[in-house]
């Protein structure tokens, strides 16, 4: 296997959860809601998806559970920010703390006293073409070939997408035109949450086949940054996800270089996060946020 195809294959693989998370967050933010609950949503979906797959023996059932957790988390975020009209930052962080706590609580309760790490047989790579770069999980194929075009089409070409963008830019006008601001925002949050759920489940059901406590490790925050980097466009956001995943794949290979043997791998692992901040510093200047970003809507 060549170095280049190895890195490219890993890039596609590693970008998959970020793709789902970034597209999901884009839907929330286009509707005007900053969803900082993404980190907790991915975490809880990763765990409960794993738990259901582990107990039922069905990966697809696990995936469905992860989506359900994500949709529920989105609805909860809707209750807080749309119905109650709370501050998005605090609501999202509270949701993340709550969901991470819930997942760890359930993890402890269910796997109490077990010595070995519980594992499942994860999704297999599709290797039908014999080309290394194309040996990917079904979730990666679905993400790039179905979800991204579909999410773009719905957001930019369908009436639902128009409504989502309208309530995020100018809720007063949307309301006057007969669009239910609350219902549209709930819907965007639930669609976004479901996608985040798939992103979280990718780790436990595909990449690892087990659940560990640091499984998301700030990748939800990365998605938040990628949405800004992508200027709330699906395509640019996915490009950002590929860039992050590329740096991530690269640092994994850097560890194998003898000259870098003395550098702790954690410092290399920090590289992609630093790269995202640098990318934001370069391209995140004076970006135009959605018009009603962070603003609760109340009829006057």
């Amino acid at each position: 296997m060549s170095f280049a195809s190895d890195v490219l294959a890993a890039t596609l693989r590693n970008s998959t959860p970020l793709l789902y998370g970034t597209v999901g967050e884009t839907y929330c933010e286009r509707a005007g809601i900053l969803n900082l609950g993404i980190e907790g949503t991915m975490y809880a979906s990763a765990f409960f998806g794993f738990l259901v797959a582990y107990t039922s023996g069905s990966l697809l059932l696990g995936l469905a559970a992860a989506v359900a957790v994500g949709v529920l988390a989105g609805a909860l975020m809707g209750l807080l920010t749309v119905t109650f009209g709370t501050n998005h930052h605090v609501a999202g962080l509270g949701l993340t703390l709550f969901l991470i706590g819930t997942a760890e609580f359930a993890n402890r309760l269910h796997f109490r006293g077990e010595q070995a790490l519980a594992t499942i047989d994860p999704f297999k790579l599709w290797d039908f073409l014999g080309v290394e770069i194309l040996a990917q999980y079904a979730l990666t194929y679905v993400g790039f070939l179905v979800i991204v075009p579909l999410a773009w089409w719905v957001l930019m070409r369908s009436s639902l997408g128009l409504n989502i963008r309208a309530v995020g830019e100018n809720p007063e006008a949307a309301d006057a035109a007969g669009v239910s601001v609350a219902r549209t925002r709930y819907l965007a949050l639930m669609i976004g949450g479901g996608l985040m759920g798939v992103g979280g489940a990718f780790f436990t059901l595909a990449a690892l086949g087990s659940f560990t406590l640091d499984i998301i490790a700030g990748r939800g925050w990365v998605c938040i940054a990628l949405v800004i980097f992508g200027r709330w466009r699906i395509g640019r956001g996915v490009l950002g996800a590929l860039l992050f995943a590329f740096v991530y794949a690269l640092q994994l290979r850097l560890r194998l270089i003898p000259e870098l043997a003395g550098v702790p791998f954690e410092l290399l692992l920090a590289l992609p996060y630093v790269a995202v901040i640098a990318a934001l510093a370069v391209s995140g200047r004076n970006v135009a946020y959605p018009g009603a970003y962070l603003k609760p809507y109340r009829r006057a």
């Binding site: 900053l34 900082l36 907790g40 807080l80 109650f84 009209g85 709370t86 501050n87 930052h89 605090v90 609501a91 962080l93 509270g94 949701l95 993340t96 703390l97 709550f98 969901l99 991470i100 706590g101 819930t102 760890e104 609580f105 402890r108 309760l109 109490r112 490790a217 700030g218 925050w221 990365v222 938040i224 940054a225 800004i228 003395g262 550098v263 702790p264 791998f265 954690e266 410092l267 692992l269 920090a270 996060y273 630093v274 995202v276 901040i277 934001l280 510093a281 995140g284 200047r285 004076n286």
Partner: protein, 356 residues
């Protein structure tokens, strides 16, 4: 028939700030009963273990203060930033870098120094480490207009990687080969303040002193007024001739410095070395503390003491009742959500009218 309605108030009721936090606590416990039941325990027993039991013995009551110490620092750090309009969600990373900077100086330079010189020096390094970690997001925000929420959040996992990288690499304890630094110099240790039988250390006093200073600055000085003005409305503050950018930068650095001292205090007063996982998310809990305390300094003290109680209680509840101690994390998150929802009622009153 009587109709119940929510009506807007002109100004928030005075009693509201006093009542809302206890109400939020009661509502949160009611909402989280399901988790206690899922663990097979009685809710009353669990909440007794959680909240009352820690206060029934001298040792555990002092442990509540020990647990509250880092939360006093991080709660104050977050409250200062939020009130000034800088959304610092990076107290966790700043705390970790503060601990790294403090450990570095406390294991290298201060060996020969007397305690009175060593302790302030190490704390200053902790503050500098935390402030340095807040500097990049603050500059990006003030100079380039890049959202500080994202950058401070992203630096949290990076801070954790710096700690584990150091502990698995150059700082690994050469004797035990554990991922922990060597022990800090004795002169850099924060001494216990109520005798050797409790872990309560000087850091608690420093935290309270810092909070008193912050309270004075915010409430009684022109700088405090400017900060609050910048937090309430940056545009209006700018029109009034306040240099909002410089002020925000200052507030962000002070916030980062205080979070950094939280890390230094844990290393100097509890661990005596840098370990991985010494911070149980103290930086994130600081956000809960600051919100629960209404972003006021007296409120931060009360909220930190309450959450300290919760943390100590959750450990004994885990031992005694088999309720996983992560229930404390659930309660913290739920408390934040309930609190921020209840705060909206501040501008409303409930009216009971006879329908006509």
């Amino acid at each position: 028939m009587i109709r119940v309605r929510l009506e807007q108030r002109a100004a928030p009721a005075r009693w509201f700030g006093v009542v809302v936090a206890p109400v939020a606590i009661v509502v949160t416990f009611a909402l989280t009963i399901g988790f206690v039941l899922a663990a097979g325990a009685s809710p009353l027993d669990a909440y007794n273990q959680f909240l009352v039991e820690p206060l029934t013995s001298r040792y555990t009551a002092l442990e509540v203060l020990v647990a509250a110490t880092p939360l006093l620092f991080t709660g104050a750090a977050v409250a200062i930033a939020f009130r000034s309009g800088f959304w610092n969600i990076g107290a966790e990373g700043q705390l970790l870098l503060g601990a790294v900077a403090a450990t570095w100086v406390a294991t290298t330079f201060v060996g020969g120094l007397p305690r009175a010189a060593a302790i302030p020096l190490v704390i200053a390094f902790g503050a500098a480490g935390g402030a340095a970690w807040a500097l990049v997001p603050a500059l990006l925000r003030v100079r380039l207009g890049i959202d500080e929420v994202v950058t401070t959040l992203l630096l949290n996992p990076v801070g954790l990687l710096v700690v584990t990288g150091l502990l698995n690499g150059p700082w690994r304890n050469p004797e035990t080969m554990f991922p922990e630094s060597e022990r800090i110099a004795t002169s850099a240790e924060l001494p216990p303040i109520v005798g050797a039988e409790s872990r309560l250390h000087l850091g608690f006093v420093i935290a309270i002193a810092l909070i008193v200073v912050a309270w004075f600055v915010f409430g009684r000085t022109a700088t405090g007024l400017r900060l609050r003005a910048a937090g309430l409305s940056p545009e209006a503050a700018g029109f009034a001739g306040i240099r909002v950018g410089r002020l925000l930068l200052g507030a962000a650095l002070v916030s980062g410095a205080i979070a950094g001292i939280a890390g230094a205090s844990e290393v100097m007063g509890i661990q005596y070395r840098l370990t991985d996982g010494f911070s149980a998310g103290f930086g994130y809990t600081g956000i809960v503390v600051a919100t629960l305390g209404g972003l006021s300094m007296p409120g931060v003290v009360l909220a930190a003491l309450f959450l300290g109680d919760l943390v100590v209680g959750s450990t004994s509840a885990g031992r005694e009742l088999g309720v996983p101690s992560q229930l404390a994390d659930i309660v913290q998150g739920a408390l934040l959500l309930v609190m921020v929802s209840l705060l909206l009622l501040r501008r409303y009153r409930v009216s009971f009218r006879r329908a006509t």
